[in-house]
């Protein structure tokens, strides 16, 4: 089905068939779970006209992009959809920023365990930067690069940073200036996204003459996150609740927060420190609730409403976004095993290497972070690979995480088998 007719056809069908009131006033939710019957999915199904109006107001292409988890594409819309897309990008870059920080720290630790960082490398300084958003002047000890060392020490991490004139023309100085400009709201975000795929510093490998070591930007995702936050904040919040809730990770039940909705559905998130199996059990409870609800929705008897539910995969999308949100929260709470359980269960295995309406970029970022934090650095790279085509700036993290993965296994003899 073409982009232009995709959900309009389903919505028009719903109205034309007359089974539902198109102004949303007549709710025929008999039999459907009482709590969920008040949520945004039910409202979309019952009032497709309102849904169409909402979508048209923000720009249909932008909403289509948002539904497909193409957040960058959705930022081109107006109002609510753009605001929400920037908000989603901020969350995505935040997960990457945290993963980048942990990766750099572990890279530093792994080098230390192997007898220290490479001689003369600026790596310790970058590790310090990653830990402290650039404010790591003390970490310069042992860095003898005559240009990079002083320049990195001069970086303040603040939007108003004004580098010494002598540094402005150097590649490293230009990158740091770009950071400052992006954080201050100037310069195009795209400029940093493009630059992010290039090393921030190249140095000679002392023990291997002729070979350069390429080091990537440890602050890249933090700056992108800060800018995405600022872009979202600059857009007036929507008034229409549907604009806030459409394709979100929330249930959108009036006067009830999602925790109480979950409780009503019999889903209890495990307490901090609970084993991963408890988190899987919580996800299974959610599935039980949503599966039952989806079956009830399907039994409403209206083919048009079923078509809308199926075309947009509304319930599946809600499930995936909820589990992704739980995964991000678990990462924030330093429960990577739980985060891994949620993220693995959220993944659409039919397209495990693609961003889809089910698999958001944030899901892949959370999956990578959870795998890395649970020790499986190599498998984290698989999750990042899924982002490579849409987000070329992920290359910076990919290379750094790759360095860590290889460093951890240097000197090992691998095993290989057939089939």
């Amino acid at each position: 089905m073409g982009r232009s007719t995709w959900w309009r056809r389903a919505a028009v069908l719903l109205c034309a068939l007359g089974s539902f009131s198109c102004d949303g006033q007549e709710a025929r939710s008999s039999g459907v779970d009482a709590t969920l019957a008040m949520g945004w999915i039910m409202r979309v199904v019952q009032a497709p006209d309102t849904f169409s109006t909402t979508v048209d107001r923000g720009g249909r292409d932008a909403w289509i992009a948002f539904h497909r988890n193409d957040f960058l594409g959705a930022t081109t819309g107006d109002g609510a959809v753009a605001r929400r897309a920037w908000g989603e990008l901020a969350v995505f870059y935040d997960v990457l920023a945290d993963l980048s920080r942990v990766t750099w720290v572990r890279l530093g630790d792994t080098w230390a365990a192997r007898g220290g960082p490479p001689r003369g490398s600026v790596l310790p300084l970058l590790v310090g930067w990653a830990q402290n958003d650039g404010e790591a002047r003390g970490a310069a000890t042992g860095v003898d690069d005559p240009v990079a060392g002083p320049l990195m020490n001069a970086w303040s991490g603040r939007p108003a940073w004004d580098p010494p004139e002598t540094f402005r023309t150097l590649p490293l100085g230009q990158r740091m200036l770009l950071h400052a400009q992006i954080r201050a709201g100037g310069a195009d975000l795209q400029a940093l996204r493009s630059a992010g795929g290039q090393p921030i510093h190249v140095e000679v490998v002392a023990e291997k003459p002729g070979l350069n070591r390429a080091l990537f930007d440890p602050l890249l995702y933090l700056t992108l996150k800060l800018r995405a936050d600022a872009e979202a904040a600059a857009i007036t919040p929507p008034v229409d609740p549907l604009e806030t809730q459409l394709f979100s990770a929330g249930f959108g039940v009036p006067a009830q927060d999602d925790t109480s909705v979950l409780a009503a559905l019999g889903v209890a998130l495990p307490a901090a420190g609970a084993p991963a199996e408890s988190c899987r059990n919580a996800a299974r409870s959610l599935d039980t609730a949503l599966d039952g609800w989806r079956a009830e929705l399907g039994s409403l008897g209206d083919p048009a409403s079923r078509a809308l539910l199926d075309e947009l995969r509304l319930v599946e999308g809600l499930r995936a976004r909820l589990l992704t949100r739980w995964a991000v929260s678990a990462l924030d709470a330093d429960q990577p095993a739980c985060a891994l359980a949620y993220a693995e269960l959220a993944l659409d295995h039919e397209h495990p290497r693609e961003v889809t309406p089910i698999n958001s970029p944030t899901l892949f970022a959370a999956l990578a972070s959870a795998r890395m934090r649970t020790g499986n650095v190599r498998l984290a790279l698989d999750a990042l690979e899924a982002l490579a085509s849409s987000f070329p700036e992920v290359l910076a993290l990919d290379e750094t995480l790759g360095d860590l993965s290889v460093l951890q296994n240097l000197g090992k003899s691998g095993d290989s088998r057939e089939n």
Partner: protein, 493 residues
């Protein structure tokens, strides 16, 4: 009473049944070559060191290890409670025997490459063994992950594949052999009553299409590798959960470089250009095309190397350069049409679909193709030992080190295609000896380019790879390569 307790334990802790496409022909870690063997060996045997759940190296049969100041010797002390399944203690003699047997040329162990760094192993006391290395080793414990065998069960370090041990294996792992069953399944029982899974049964289910159904009908609790086309079915079933597994695997078509005309690079290039790899992949599932011997997410994958594409005109040009002419729709030289035989292992999933599709594609391009599928014993004999084949259709799986040395080093033990390029040898040496990850990455990315250009193989794809387990199995943590490494934490409800 004991029988009652153990029966009760088994009922409570349950029997986990998992499927393999083909039951391991033998159970002996000296000769393991397939993933099916690696998985069952993981249940039956232990190594001196192994991965912990966060994939850091920890002692297993070893209690401790002490490295000499010059890092060329290590004294490993064994755990005092490490026992074989028959109740006898694991001793330094067992470690010494295992290493010597693996190194013994007459044994022709597939594990020889994994102990090549050990120049000598000697007993050094009641519980200690001294290992000497060919050169200084930074973290030798990372390499001491091969399985240890009971010396008393063998007559000498020259071991044959047909040794009686293969059907009566004794290990020190968390499960011991219970019985071989008439249906080719193998039953194992936990060595401790506290195990969360009392019994594990390996079931041979040769029809891969049937495996997912058995899982859904609760006749299995685990599938180690789900066919990509079964993923939608399984992910929508709430009694099953999917786990990423064995993701560093890739398919290839390998030329026998010792045979004419495959020793001719023009012919290899032409054959590559005759094949539409995307069309081969489409019917068997989703995956990523590859241009070299690493998967795309690997730190070693060289993204600057382009994927091979079908190019009929280019293929014709190469064939003409190689002295062939097109006669009656077939490429012919010296009056004989080019005919090749594609050899695949019978247990390679979807191989029949791929081989038939390949046969059809090459015939339309002017090359006759015969296809043969070998049983395990014939595969080991023809491919591993005698190297009697034209073109192999097969798959390699790698652990997280993605060490392709054995496959592409001139003297590599798994270099079936007889590939030899001194420049690649240098790069593989450089990668092995690297002390800096970027040195290793760069060396292997260069090797990727060189191997791709030499075309000893046509690199095909990596498939989306997941294991599936029943939700009745709890606390599942799947090792990304050996699968069962953390089975002690699993529980059956």
């Amino acid at each position: 009473m004991w029988i009652l307790i153990s029966t009760l334990t088994m009922v409570l802790a349950g029997n986990l049944r998992y499927a393999e496409d083909q039951a391991p022909a033998i159970v002996n870690p000296l000769f393991g070559s397939s993933m099916a063997e690696a998985r069952i060996n993981e249940l039956l045997f232990q190594s001196l060191y192994a991965d912990d759940p966060e994939l850091a190296t920890i002692p297993l049969l070893a209690e401790s290890g002490e490295l000499s100041p010059d890092r060329t010797e290590m004294t490993v002390t064994l755990r005092s409670d490490a026992r074989w399944h028959d109740g006898t203690l694991v001793t330094p003699a067992d470690v010494v025997f295992t290493i010597r047997a693996m190194k013994e040329a007459a044994t022709a162990s597939t594990e020889a490459g994994r102990v090549a760094f050990i120049s000598e192993a000697v007993e050094a006391g009641e519980r200690s063994v001294k290992l000497r290395f060919g050169r200084a080793e930074l973290r030798p414990e990372d390499k001491l992950t091969f399985k240890i065998l009971p010396a008393a069960r063998f007559k000498s370090t020259t071991v044959k594949r047909t040794d009686a041990f293969r059907t009566a294996p004794i290990g020190s792992g968390p499960y011991k052999l219970l019985k071989y069953n008439e249906d080719n399944s193998i039953s194992l029982s936990a060595t401790t009553t506290s195990a969360g899974v009392a019994q594990i049964t390996m079931r041979e289910v040769s029809d891969k299409n049937y495996q997912a159904k058995l899982l859904l009908y609760e006749s299995l609790e685990a599938l180690v590798r789900v066919l990509p086309r079964d993923l939608p079915l399984l992910q929508n079933n709430r009694k099953v959960e999917l786990y990423p597994y064995q993701t560093n695997s890739w398919w290839y078509l390998g030329y026998n470089l010792k045979r004419e005309p495959f020793d001719n690079p023009e012919v290899r290039a032409a054959l590559g250009m005759m094949i539409d790899i995307d069309a081969l992949l489409a019917p068997i599932g989703t995956g990523d095309r590859l241009s070299g011997p690493f998967v795309r997410s690997s730190p070693f994958y060289n993204h600057e190397v382009a994927l091979d594409k079908k190019n009929s005109a280019g293929a014709a040009e190469r064939m003409l350069q190689a002295g062939y002419t097109l006669e009656g729709g077939l490429w012919t030289k010296g009056g004989r049409p080019l005919t090749l035989k594609v050899t695949a292992h019978q247990a390679l999933e979807s191989a029949q679909d791929v081989a038939i599709n390949l046969q059809s594609q090459l015939l339309s391009a002017g090359v006759k193709v015969q296809v043969e599928f070998l049983q395990d014993a014939a595969w080991k004999s023809r491919v591993w030992s005698a190297r009697e084949f034209d073109l192999l259709l097969s798959q390699w799986s790698f652990d997280r080190n993605e060490d392709v040395r054995e496959q592409f080093y001139s003297k590599g033990s798994r270099n079936f295609v007889s590939y030899s390029n001194p420049a690649v040898d240098v790069l593989l040496d450089e990668a092995r000896d690297a002390a800096d990850p970027q040195v290793r990455k760069l060396a292997l990315r260069k090797a990727h380019q060189a191997i791709h250009d030499d075309r000893p193989m046509l690199f095909l794809w990596t498939l989306d790879s997941f294991a599936a387990l029943s939700t009745r199995v709890k606390n599942v943590l799947v090792h990304p390569f050996y699968f069962f490494s953390f089975v002690s934490t699993w529980e059956m409800k």
